[in-house]
C-alpha cells in the first residue's frame, strides 16, 4: 500500500467518524435546557387530575413576570423516586421539582437540595406554612422543601352501587364488612372493596386504627411496628376482606393506586381508599361518574376515624439550579397567592399555607368536606426518616401485601418479614 493509499484510508476512516458524529449530534434533541432564562421543573402526576392546562397558565404568568421560560416535565409518581435518584447521580436534576414529603429529607441528605430558609424568611411567609409539611421538609434544622400542598386518603364509594345494594357508608369495621358483603351479593362481577397490593398508603390506616405503628423512633434507632399484634390485626382485617371475604378481586393483588382509580372510574368498584385529589381525576377519566360517588373518613375499628397518611408535596430547589433567585420566584408563585389557591381548588389538594388551608377545610362541598374531616381529625405521618424513601423504593409494604393477598404467606409471617426489612433499611443498614 502506498503512502497515498494509506492517507486515503485514514481519510475514509476519518470521514466515517465525522459522518457518524454528525448523525449522532443530529439526533441529539434538545437535551437539558437549563441556563439562559429557562427554568426546568418536574411535576408529579398520578391519580390527580390532569395538570397541563394549569401549568400552561403558570408558564404564561411566569414568563410575563420574569421573562424566563418554564419547562415543565410531568413525571409519574410510581417512577419518580428512581428518576430523582438517577438524576441526582447523573447531575441532571431539574432546577425545581415537586418532591413527595417522604423524599425531601432523603434528597437533602444526598446533598442535592438547596436550603430555603433565607428565601422563605425573605418572603415573610414563614409563619403561614402548615406545620406538618414544614416538619417533613426539614432536614438538619434547615428547610429544604417548601410546603406546597397536602393530601389525605379517605374512603370513596360508588353511591349508585350503595343505593342499589341498600347499604349506608360504613362507620365501623363491622359495617364495612357488611357493606362489602351486600355489595358483593348485589354485584357479583364487580369489586366490592378494592384491596390493592401495591399501594402502601392504603394499608397504614388500618394499622393505626387498630392501635399499631408503622415505625417508632427510640433514641437513634427505628423499630418497625408492623409485626405488633395490633398492626397485624389491622392488616389482617384489611387483607381479610380480600382473602376471606373475596370482596376484592384477584387482579387487585397487583394493583397500584392508578389501577384502583381507573377501575373505580369505570364504575367497577364499590369502595376504595382514595385520595382527596382523585374526585377530579375520576370525573376526568369518566364524565359519567359525575355525582355518582361520595367519600367518608376511613372508619375506625369501632367507630371514629382511622388515621390516614398526611401525604403531600414540597417544591424543592436543586443545587444544580443556575439561577436560584429565578427558581425561588417560581416556588413562591406556586405556593402562595392565586396559583396556590387555584391549584388547591382544581386538584383537591389541601394548600400548604395556613391561611389558604383554613378556607378549604371550611368547605361544605361533599367531595371536600369528608377529606377535610379526615385531614383534621385523622391525619398521621409515616416515619420521618431520610431512609424512608428507600423503604418505599424497596416496596417493603407492597411485598407484604402481595404475599398475603396471593396466599403465599399468612399475615404473621409476612408482617414479620416486612417489619424486619423496614427496621433494617430505616436504620441505614442493608
Amino acid at each position: 500500500m502506498t503512502r497515498a493509499m494509506r492517507r486515503s484510508l485514514a481519510a475514509a476512516t476519518g470521514a466515517l467518524l465525522v459522518a457518524a458524529t454528525t448523525a449522532a449530534c443530529g439526533g441529539g434533541g434538545s437535551g437539558d435546557s437549563e441556563g439562559d432564562g429557562t427554568l426546568s421543573v418536574w411535576i408529579m402526576q398520578g391519580t390527580n387530575p390532569d395538570a397541563e392546562d394549569f401549568f400552561a397558565d403558570v408558564s404564561t404568568a411566569f414568563e410575563e413576570e420574569t421573562g424566563a421560560t418554564l419547562d415543565v416535565e410531568f413525571v409519574e409518581w410510581g417512577d419518580a423516586h428512581d428518576r430523582f435518584v438517577t438524576s441526582i447521580a447523573g447531575g441532571t436534576t431539574p432546577d425545581v421539582a415537586e418532591t413527595g414529603t417522604t423524599w425531601t429529607p432523603e434528597f437533602a441528605d444526598a446533598g442535592a437540595l438547596a436550603p430555603l430558609d433565607e428565601y422563605v424568611d425573605g418572603a415573610g411567609v414563614t409563619d403561614d406554612l402548615v406545620e406538618g409539611l414544614v416538619e417533613a421538609g426539614t432536614y438538619d434544622e434547615q428547610l429544604y422543601g417548601m410546603p406546597w400542598y397536602a393530601g389525605v386518603r379517605s374512603l370513596v364509594y360508588n353511591t349508585e352501587m350503595f343505593e342499589q345494594a341498600g347499604v349506608e357508608p360504613p362507620t365501623t369495621w363491622a359495617e364495612l364488612e357488611d357493606a362489602a358483603a351486600a355489595l358483593k351479593k348485589e354485584f357479583p362481577d364487580k369489586v366490592a372493596v378494592a384491596v390493592p397490593g401495591d399501594a402502601e398508603f392504603t394499608v397504614y390506616p388500618w394499622v393505626w386504627a387498630a392501635g399499631g405503628e408503622v415505625a417508632t423512633l427510640d433514641g437513634d434507632t427505628w423499630t418497625s411496628g408492623l409485626d405488633s399484634p395490633e398492626a397485624q390485626e389491622g392488616i389482617g382485617f384489611w387483607t381479610g376482606l380480600a382473602t376471606e371475604g373475596g370482596y376484592s378481586s384477584s387482579g387487585a393483588t397487583t394493583w397500584r393506586e392508578t389501577d384502583v382509580l381507573d377501575s373505580f372510574a369505570a364504575g367497577d368498584v364499590g369502595m376504595a381508599v382514595m385520595g382527596s385529589w382523585t374526585p377530579g381525576a375520576i370525573v376526568e377519566a369518566n364524565p359519567d361518574m359525575e355525582g355518582k360517588f361520595a367519600a367518608v373518613p376511613i372508619p375506625g375499628q369501632d367507630g371514629g376515624i382511622a388515621p390516614s397518611v398526611l401525604g403531600g408535596s414540597h417544591l424543592s430547589m436543586f443545587e444544580t439550579a443556575d439561577d436560584k433567585d429565578l427558581a425561588w420566584t417560581f416556588v413562591e408563585m406556586m405556593t402562595t397567592g392565586e396559583f396556590a389557591q387555584q391549584w388547591a381548588e382544581q386538584s383537591g389538594y389541601f394548600p400548604g399555607q395556613v391561611s389558604l388551608l383554613d378556607e378549604t377545610l371550611a368547605s361544605t362541598d361533599p367531595l371536600v368536606a369528608p377529606f377535610a374531616e379526615q385531614f383534621v381529625d385523622g391525619g398521621a405521618s409515616v416515619p420521618a426518616a431520610p431512609t424512608y424513601g428507600a423503604v418505599q423504593a424497596k416496596l417493603t409494604t407492597s411485598t407484604m401485601m402481595q404475599s398475603i393477598l396471593s396466599g403465599d404467606a399468612d399475615v404473621a409471617t409476612a408482617s414479620t418479614a416486612a417489619a424486619e426489612e423496614m427496621t433494617s433499611i430505616l436504620n441505614g443498614a442493608g
Binding site: 500500500m1 494509506r6 484510508l9 485514514a10 476512516t13 466515517l16 467518524l17 423516586h81 428512581d82 435518584v85 438517577t86 441526582i88 447521580a89 447531575g91 444526598a110 446533598g111 442535592a112 369489586v191 397490593g197 401495591d198 373475596g246 378481586s249 384477584s250 387482579g251 387487585a252 393483588t253 397487583t254 428507600a390 423504593a393 424497596k394 416496596l395 407492597s398 411485598t399 402481595q402 404475599s403 393477598l405 396471593s406 403465599d408 433499611i425
Partner: protein, 333 residues
C-alpha cells in the same frame, strides 16, 4: 463446511462467482488484496480497527473494569456524585452470598429460566424450521411472514400484550377458561412464581423463536437434496434422518443459534421488570438483573448492585469460555 446461504449480492457482477477460487485463500486472509501489497505495514489493520476498538474500550471494557471496582466499594449516591472511593473489600460479595434468597430464589430464577428459555426457543424454533421446510412456497411465505410479525414486536410491547392477555380480571385468558368452565374464579397468574415465569417464558419464546426458525430454515434449505435422498434410499426414518444427517450439517448454525439465544435470554430484564410485581414487590420472581437494578437505582447501593452484576457477568462468561473454545476449535480445523 457447507455454506448454506452465502452472501448473494444483487449487483450485476457475474464474474464474481466465476472468478472465485475454491475457498481457503480468502479465509487465511494473507494472500493478495490490500494485505498482499505491503505486508510490512502492520499498522493498517489497526487503523481500520481503531474506531471500533475505541468504542469497545470506552463503552464496554472500561465500564466492565469499573463495575468490578464499584463492587468493592460501599458506593452510594454521595460517592457517585463526588467520585470519591469508599473501599470495603469483598463485603458486598459476602453479603450477597450470605443472602438466603440468592440460593433459593434469584439464582434458580436466573439460571433455570435461561436454560428453559434457551431449550424452549431453540427446540421450538427448529421444529418450526423443519415444518416450514416441508411446506410449499405459498404456505411457507405466509407462515414466515407471520413469524416476522412476531419477531418485530418490541420486547416492551410484547410484555404489555402478554400482561393484558393474562390480566386477572379482564384478560382474555381467564375469560376463556371461565367460559369453558375450567376456572371458577379469576386467577392472578402474576403472583405465583411458576405461572409468572411461565408467562415470561411464553413471551421470550414468542419473541425469540423467529430468529432460530429463520436461521435454521436457511440452513436446512442448504442441506444438499442428494444427501437426504440418499438417506431416503437407505430407508432411514425421518427422525433418524434429521438427527443423523441434517443436524451434523447444521452444527455451526446450531452453535450460533444456541449461544445467541443464551446471551439474549440471560439478558431478560424488561420482560420481568414490567410484569405486575416484577419490579421488586414480588420477591419470589427476582432475578439477578432486576435485583441488581433495584438495589442500585432504587436503594442507591450502587456497589452492592455492581457486585450482583459482576456475578451475572461471571456466570455468562463461564458459558462463553466453553463456547469460544468450541468456535475456535472449529475454526482451526
Amino acid at each position: 463446511m457447507t455454506a448454506p446461504a452465502p452472501p448473494t449480492p444483487s449487483t450485476p457482477m457475474p464474474s464474481t462467482r466465476a472468478a472465485a477460487p475454491d475457498g481457503a485463500g480468502a479465509a487465511g486472509g494473507v494472500a493478495g488484496g490490500w494485505a498482499g501489497r505491503a505486508r510490512a505495514a502492520a499498522v493498517r489493520p489497526w487503523l481500520l480497527l481503531a474506531p471500533a476498538l475505541l468504542v469497545l474500550a470506552v463503552l464496554l471494557l472500561w465500564p466492565l473494569v469499573r463495575v468490578g471496582l464499584f463492587s468493592l466499594q460501599d458506593y452510594g449516591l454521595r460517592e457517585i456524585t463526588t467520585g470519591e472511593p469508599n473501599w470495603i473489600g469483598l463485603e458486598n460479595y459476602r453479603e450477597i452470598l450470605a443472602t438466603p434468597e440468592l440460593w433459593t430464589v434469584v439464582l434458580p430464577n436466573t439460571v433455570g429460566f435461561a436454560v428453559l428459555s434457551v431449550v424452549g426457543t431453540v427446540a421450538f424454533g427448529t421444529a418450526v424450521a423443519v415444518l416450514l421446510a416441508s411446506l410449499g412456497t405459498f404456505w411457507r411465505t405466509v407462515t414466515s411472514s407471520a413469524i416476522m410479525a412476531a419477531w418485530a414486536m418490541p420486547a416492551v410491547t410484547g410484555t404489555y400484550v402478554w400482561v393484558w392477555i393474562f390480566d386477572a380480571d379482564r384478560g382474555v385468558f381467564n375469560d376463556v377458561l371461565m367460559n369453558l368452565g375450567l376456572l371458577d374464579d379469576p386467577t392472578n397468574w402474576f403472583t405465583n412464581r411458576w405461572t409468572f415465569y411461565a408467562i415470561v417464558l411464553l413471551n421470550v419464546i414468542h419473541h425469540g423463536f423467529p430468529f432460530v426458525a429463520v436461521t435454521v430454515l436457511a440452513g436446512l434449505l442448504g442441506v444438499p437434496k442428494e444427501m437426504l435422498e440418499a438417506a431416503e434410499m437407505d430407508g432411514a426414518g425421518s427422525f433418524r434422518r434429521f438427527f443423523s444427517i441434517v443436524v451434523p450439517q447444521l452444527r455451526q448454525v446450531f452453535a450460533v443459534v444456541i449461544i445467541l439465544s443464551t446471551i439474549w435470554d440471560f439478558k431478560v430484564f424488561a420482560q420481568v421488570y414490567l410484569m405486575p410485581g416484577g419490579a421488586g414487590s414480588n420477591r419470589s420472581v427476582l432475578n439477578l438483573g432486576v435485583w441488581s437494578y433495584v438495589e442500585s437505582f432504587g436503594q442507591n447501593r450502587y456497589g452492592f448492585g455492581s457486585a450482583i452484576a459482576v456475578l451475572l457477568t461471571l456466570l455468562l462468561l463461564a458459558i462463553t469460555a466453553v463456547y469460544v473454545r468450541t468456535v475456535l476449535a472449529e475454526e482451526e480445523r
